[in-house]
């Protein structure tokens, strides 16, 4: 079947099978930031934005995104660039495999809660698993970014 979508700001027409998962579709179309992790909808590695909402591409049919807008990290480099260095500075990126999913969900978090509390950050990112860092580094990184942003805005 044929689907039409907007992928990272560009219109795309493609032929898919009825059971093609969005994860496979995106990787086949060059979006290699979208990682295959648990494939049981638990790890958050495959997070993408569907019409701006974070979803798990491992559990979504490509056919379902017909007529909709999909964003991956490839299309959100600038928005991610604002905070990823703060996360890296805290040593929160070790193997880095979970990083694209974390970054995508952090983008969604900061759009929904521009000034989140630590509890809101923890709750929002609970669906992103990291086996290296213990999560405190990511939290410190996001907090450092928010503090930096506030200081900039105050000037």
């Amino acid at each position: 079947m044929e689907i039409h979508l907007n992928l990272n700001g560009k219109p795309l027409d493609a032929e898919v099978r009825a059971d093609t998962l969005l994860l496979d579709f995106l990787r086949a179309h060059g979006c290699l930031s979208v990682k295959r992790g648990c494939e049981t909808a638990n790890c958050g590695l495959c997070t993408v934005l569907l019409d701006g909402t974070p979803v798990l591409s491992c559990s979504l049919l490509a056919a379902r995104v017909d007529g909709r807008c999909v964003q991956t990290l490839e299309g959100l480099q600038e928005e991610a660039g604002g905070f990823v260095t703060f996360i890296a500075d805290q040593g929160a990126e070790q193997c880095g495999f979970c990083n694209p999913g974390f970054v995508m969900n952090t983008i969604a978090l900061l759009r929904e809660y521009p000034d989140p509390t630590d509890d809101q950050i923890r709750a929002y990112l609970a669906g992103n698993l990291c086996r290296c860092s213990g999560y405190e580094g990511q939290l410190r990184g996001i907090r450092a970014y928010l503090n930096h942003k506030k200081a900039e805005e105050a000037q």
């Binding site: 998962l21 638990n42 798990l56 969604a108």
Partner: protein, 263 residues
């Protein structure tokens, strides 16, 4: 592995209902559970184009479309004001935000999964379901029926509960619950739903009048003890029946005291 031969985005509820009568045709919810199955699906019927992803408020109820994501239950101001946050409490431990953006009310309710947090709360709130074929019936009656082929259109959550509380016990954050407990008070009467027994949630009332008058530490304890004797529990990987029985007593007692505190 899940395979699907054909995908149909339904253009009407009538079409979806007709299509779902065939044995290897499946109605898609959030697809999170379906995708885990080793199954060959002939036709996947998608309701995503039918406008069922909205929560609407009427004078007497909130109506939840079958395709409303669980995340919307968590963030909806009206639902959470009515239940003092019980809707948010009932879904906040389910994996993560991305998962809850995919999982749907219809998938959770129609599947009548034993582990369903949402089903437990909706049962306590005496919700009703509207099905394309079978029409409107109470959620409790729907849950008691054996599986049948139909389309869940919406869930009606009546207003008027004077207090609602939702509690669950989990072995670890974001895991399936070991036990779920929801309590709603309406016109002075209490309605309890206990789920993840690990069977599907069931409704219980205060048949002995243990809470007549008011909730006290003693009456809450007595109600907890009563329900822990009445609710049938089972074993699974997460917990044994004996442990669940103890947890049931504690959750009911705590839930009742929480209800009283919030008055």
């Amino acid at each position: 592995m899940l395979t699907i031969d054909q995908y149909v985005r339904a253009e009407s509820l009538e079409q979806a209902y007709e299509l779902c009568q065939k044995r290897n045709h499946v109605v898609l919810g959030g697809m999170l559970w379906l995708k885990m199955q080793d199954r060959k699906v002939g036709t996947a019927i998608d309701l995503c184009g039918l406008g069922l992803d909205r929560i609407t408020e009427t004078e007497r109820a909130f109506e939840l479309g079958a395709m409303v994501p669980l995340r919307a239950l968590e963030t909806h101001e009206g639902l959470n004001a009515m239940t003092r946050g019980a809707f948010a409490r009932s879904v906040e431990h389910i994996v993560g935000v991305q998962f809850r953006n995919c999982a749907t009310v219809g998938g959770s309710v129609f599947g009548r999964f034993g582990f369903s947090d949402v089903l437990t709360l909706l049962l306590a709130l005496d919700a009703r379901v509207v099905l394309q074929g079978a029409g409107e019936l109470s959620l409790e009656e729907f849950c008691a029926r054996p599986p049948f082929r139909d389309i869940l259109v919406r869930v009606i959550v009546p207003k008027g509960a004077e207090g609602t509380v939702y509690l669950s016990q989990r072995n670890s954050a974001t895991d399936f619950p070991v036990l779920t407990c929801a309590i709603a008070r309406r016109e002075g009467a209490f309605r309890f739903a206990i789920g993840a027994r690990p069977g599907r949630a069931r409704v219980y009332l205060d048949e002995k009048g243990l809470l007549s008058g008011r909730i006290t530490r003693d009456s809450a304890l007595a109600m907890g003890e009563d329900l822990s004797r009445r609710v049938p529990m089972g074993d699974n990987l997460r917990a044994g029946a004996e442990y669940r029985t103890k947890i049931c007593q504690a959750l009911v007692r705590r839930g009742l005291l929480k209800l009283e505190e919030a008055r």
